[in-house]
Amino acid sequence: MKKLLEITLGIVTSIGGFLEVGSLATSAQAGAAFGFQLIWAIVLGTVCLIFLVEMSGRLAAVSKQTLAGAMRDRFGYPFFLVPLVAMSVLALLVMASELGGLCLALQLVTGISFPWWAPVGAFAAWLLLWKGTFSVVEKGASLLGLVTIVFVIAAFKLHPDWGRAAHAALPSMPRHEPMRYWFIAVSILGASIAPYLLYFYSAGAVEDKWNESDVPVNRVSATLGMSFGGGLAIAVLIVAALVFVPRGIRIERFDQIALMLTSVMGRWGFFLFAAALGIACFGAMLEIALSVAYLVAQGFGWKWSEDARPRDAARFSLVYTVTLVGGALIVMLGVDPLAITLMSMALTGALLPIAIVPFLILMNDSRYVGKYGNGWISNAVVCAIVGLAFVLAVVSIPLEVMGS
């Protein structure tokens, strides 16, 4: 019974963790520009994420080490700085886009314009981290995140052609605008395979004192949870395709995405969209701020714990505070939230190998995972998808930057 509860919780957790502004924006863009055609990118990204999340839980359960700690331990300090710097910069950009999403949600509801919400949103997130415990953050964000199921309901209400949607789960070549197509594809991959989630998940597993007996539960909850998250992203894409394509709307600003549910659910759709966007972004902000703090504190061997009082883990608390402030400053500078979201997701694709290759080496090192090492299937699948994301990113990012 307790195991069942844990699995359910794992699934719920992943909903909060998976559908955030990156998945939402990239899926909506994909649907509006290319109909169902890019569903395959969500499927590939989700499959890769399932494998990676399962691995980070297994690493924590068997080695009792977090992903960040094990990386410093195994590869040494100079090498560890490379993923540390890359992932911190990336996290700051993603933080800015999540905060941008939250600000937009608040603007939709109140009519007060958007950069002014940045300090408010960042402060609210900081307060929750300052006062709350890990389980409050994890479970609270996830339970509230259930509101994102509204996209699945909307998808069903639109009666899509499920046969065509299933067909699009297999990759196909673009019929028009090839550069745009590949750029959105890599943004979707980057949004799905969020590396910060891995640091968050493994720290949570160590803080909850997992051991070998948790390996099977971890496998089930990673699979079900991440599939559910992927399903939400597919629902967003389907709704966007059926709402925007017939009207010939191209998404160039964030607030256009907000109209997605209005044609399906009317005025309620508008508010549900704002709620889903705001809550999903808020949850992701908490996870990103903590992930950076975990990465830095574990890498340098400082005391880290979201359950401790801030003064008992001073440098750890300082890092998440600085991360939130940094994200707020970027938003207040007035960068275009949709542009920074798409770019940071594509950049994630380009930087994935830096985070994932050392991780795979760890997962094949018996000194860390004993007899629970990776099988060849998980190694091959992750290498193939991360390799694809990297190649697509390196080719399409320069072209996208030059084009705009």
């Binding site: 080695s63 009792k64 080490q65 700690g69 410093r72 331990d73 040494g76 300090y77 100079p78 560890f80 700085l81 300052w130 006062k131 340098f300 061997g301 400082w302 005391k303 880290w304 009082r309 801030p310 003064r311 001073a314 440098r315 608390s317 300082l318």
Partner: protein, 120 residues
Amino acid sequence: MEIALVRDLLDKQLVDRNGEPLGRVDGIVMSYRADAPPRITHVELGAQTLARRLPGPFRRTVAWLGRRLSPRASEPYRIEADRIVHLGRVVKIDIDGTRSAARETERWVRDHIIARIPGS
């Protein structure tokens, strides 16, 4: 017990006798005399040690930054190797970390920044 210095000691998590984290093994100090085998005397922690492990230009920048940020921590902190009581997933040291210089930066951040924010 046979250990590989880089694999089993360098970069490992250090904990004090209460199991509280002290930092990581940032450097290893050895001494040798002409007529005896080399011996590990200390493990080192701190920004200056970390700076020395970087390639040239980064090394100077980080060392400078470290001196500017915490003048008192400009010397690396050393712990006698004799104090090591356990070598495994973590390296356990038989000292009380609460007042140890290894925690100087943590204490500084706590007293000067974190403790001044309400609710800490």
